[in-house]
């Protein structure tokens, strides 16, 4: 440990860290554009200059290592003056097209301009005209005019993906970020480039001109599209009082989590949010009743009648339960307690989610967010695609995932075809929602709380990033209400007011459940 003074306050910091990191730990933010904690310092933007006592020139805080007794000023007159000067140069050729720039509101350059701008420009010369919409990748547009040449994107393709698509060509005023003629950015993590660009130079075609960032509400969640469980933020739009907006979720960004995904997410997770917006089930559907509004209380009563009709003697052979690995630990636990143990569903099947192509970074071949949870809870389920079905099926309760594919829904359909009563719990319309006797709309992971266990055995809790759509409800809540309606031990379920209370109960039974918890 070394003792340093930042803005006259003493701090004990670790040896070998930079002045920038030391200030960050002390809660002092030093303006910066090119510095990114994932990369080695580069020192191209010059925004992070600080004064160090005894050093004649201002130093780059991102590249200067702390020394014992060092006295750093991050905000005195000289430093602020320098920042203004650096910013004046950075903005000399900046197009100032913030009103049509997607980055506006999220832009560091804009923030620093507010704070350190000169406002009245001293330049009488015309600004350089450059290419404003070069397509550098499948989803990426690069604007040479807005670019401040921080090289974050170049370093990303060299240090993180090691795909080397981007470079800085030419020099001086002509220097520009570019790709080779035949080498567009083509990797499974390309969306991160738009995210790490500190200005509006790299924009994402998926988000470009869609909305303004200040209309969006950010919520934290976990990506369910593979077994890694990357930390994400989901940006959604509530719409305006007088008109609707075309989407609910507008973008997904990565959220820093050193244990799981670092700073990054893959393009599958970033762009695969369609299921949250489209084809959702918003109302309870009951076959043979046309458009009758159905509330949960009434629907659960009807369901319990239907379930009670199946005689306990028939349960072991005639009742089928179909699960999927998108269900949270809490939901799976309730299913185990209530449906399997109390209601004696013995024929438990799991919908197979086909593997995808994985890599040695974040993307796993297994595409199920909570297969580990199923295993740790000791839930034994047969494979729906390869194991035999019972001869006669009286009742089937099926929980389907949002991304069920045609093979998956065909395997459930095979059960439905044999069954007398078919109950579906689903978030999205699928081939089964039209042939079910009852359909209960469920919330997607982004809309609920609970926990999942990822491929490395890490249990992660998450909260809703946005409200559940329409009448949809999270499965845990539906299960608690069903159990209170049907289960003779209904008092047991009174304690489950939230997923946290359910997780506590799981840990009472399995003490080391999700042992590598976050």
């Amino acid at each position: 440990m070394v003792k340093i003074f930042i803005d006259e306050k003493p701090f004990e910091v670790e040896e070998g860290i930079t002045v920038f990191t030391a200030a960050e730990q002390a809660g002092i933010e030093i303006p910066h554009l090119c510095y990114h904690p994932a990369f080695a310092p580069e020192g191209t933007c010059r925004m992070c200059l600080v004064e160090i006592e005894g050093v004649p020139k201002l130093e780059l805080s991102c590249a200067t290592v702390v020394r014992d007794g060092m006295k750093v000023s991050t905000n005195n007159e000289r430093v602020v003056e320098a920042r203004k000067g650096v910013l004046e140069f950075l903005l000399a050729d900046h197009p100032m097209d913030c009103p049509i720039c997607d980055q506006a509101g999220d832009c560091k350059l804009q923030d620093y301009y507010e704070k350190y701008g000169m406002f009245e420009s001293r330049y009488s010369e015309n600004k350089e005209k450059r290419e404003k919409k070069r397509k550098i990748g499948q989803t990426l547009i690069h604007d040479q005019e807005r670019c401040v040449l921080c090289r974050r994107c170049v370093r990303f393709t060299r240090e993180i993906t090691k795909t080397h698509e981007l470079g800085v060509f030419e020099r001086g005023v002509h220097a520009e970020i570019s790709i080779l003629e035949d080498g567009p950015v083509n990797n499974k993590y390309s969306g991160n480039l738009a995210e790490i660009c500190p200005v509006g130079a790299i924009t994402d075609l998926d988000f470009r001109f869609q909305t303004r960032s200040w209309f969006l509400k950010s919520g934290d969640s976990i990506c369910p599209l593979c077994s890694r469980g990357c930390s994400i933020t989901i940006d959604s739009h509530k719409g305006f009082s007088h008109f609707k907006v075309p989407k609910r979720v507008y973008r997904i960004q990565s959220r820093r989590n050193e244990n799981i995904n670092g700073f990054w997410i893959c393009d599958i997770g970033r762009y695969g949010y369609g299921y949250i917006n489209e084809n959702r089930l918003e109302q309870i559907l009951l076959k043979n009743e046309q458009n009758e509004a159905m509330d949960w209380e009434k629907a659960l009563k009807i369901l319990s009648e239907k379930m009670k009709k199946v005689h306990p003697m028939d349960r072991s052979s005639g009742a089928v339960l179909i699960l999927n690995p998108w269900l949270t630990n809490e939901e799976l636990f309730l299913i185990k307690k209530f449906l399997i143990e109390n209601q004696e569903f013995e024929n438990v099947y799991l919908i197979d989610i086909p593997d995808g192509e994985g890599d040695d970074f974040l993307i796993t071949t297994e595409r199920s967010p909570n297969k580990r949870g199923l295993q740790e809870l000791g839930l034994k389920a047969k494979s729906l695609s390869s194991d035999k079905l019972p001869e006669k099926i009286k009742l089937v309760l099926a929980f389907t995932p949002p991304n069920i594919d045609s093979a998956g829904s065909a395997s459930v359909k095979a059960v439905f075809d044999k069954a007398e009563t078919k109950i579906l719990f689903a978030s999205n319309k699928n081939d089964l929602s039209d042939v079910s006797d009852m359909v209960f709309p469920t919330a997607v992971i982004a809309e609920k709380s609970g926990s999942l266990i990822n491929i490395d055995g890490v249990l992660q809790n998450f909260s809703p990033a946005l409200e559940a759509l329409g009448d949809s409800r999270p499965e845990w809540q539906i299960l608690v209400e069903m159990a209170k309606e049907i289960d003779i031990n209904h008092k047991y379920y009174d304690q489950f007011s939230s997923p946290e209370t359910i997780l506590q109960e799981i840990r009472k039974e399995i003490s080391d459940f999700g042992k590598k918890s976050d």
Partner: protein
């Protein structure tokens, strides 16, 4: 068709590589050899050099475009580079450039139809004592005037 070094040049490259602890450190001299061999450094040459030095083509492009002495397009037999910096400009360098362009009937950066001459400007040649000056391939010509330029061009066959 991707270009390939002749055996003689391959030997030259091996000698250059022997000077450096890392292959990629030899990028500048190897590019010079490549330019001598092919007259310019095109995309194919960039790729070949990248493979030779175990780096990525994009890194070669960065270096080739950074330094003005690497030609990215073919140049004529004689590459005339006229100094456009301070001393030469004060002593009429710009006028001489215009004279040259008019005489050869080409624009700046262009090559004559017979592929003999290419004209470009160059920042300071470090020969202010003989301003205005220019360079033809690797030879210096100083204290220029129109008459002198006529003579120089006549001698370039």
């Amino acid at each position: 068709m991707s270009p390939e070094f002749s055996d003689k040049v391959k030997k030259q490259v091996q000698d250059i590589l022997a000077h450096y602890p890392e292959k990629k450190a030899a990028l500048l001299p190897v590019l010079h050899v490549a330019q001598q061999e092919f007259g310019f450094i095109g995309e194919d040459t960039e790729r070949m050099v990248a493979a030779l030095l175990d780096i990525k083509p994009v890194q070669v492009r960065e270096v080739v475009t950074f330094y003005t002495m690497y030609n990215r397009k073919p140049v004529g037999k004689y590459h005339i580079q006229v100094c456009s910096n301070l001393s030469c400009s004060l002593l009429g360098g710009a006028g001489l450039l215009d004279f040259l362009l008019k005489k050869l009937n080409i624009g700046l950066g262009e090559t004559t139809k017979d592929k003999k001459f290419t004209i470009s400007t160059v920042e300071c040649l470090g020969a202010c004592e003989q301003a205005p000056c220019m360079m033809v391939n690797f030879d210096y010509y100083g204290d220029l005037d129109e008459e002198k330029i006529d003579k120089i061009l006549d001698n370039l066959k």
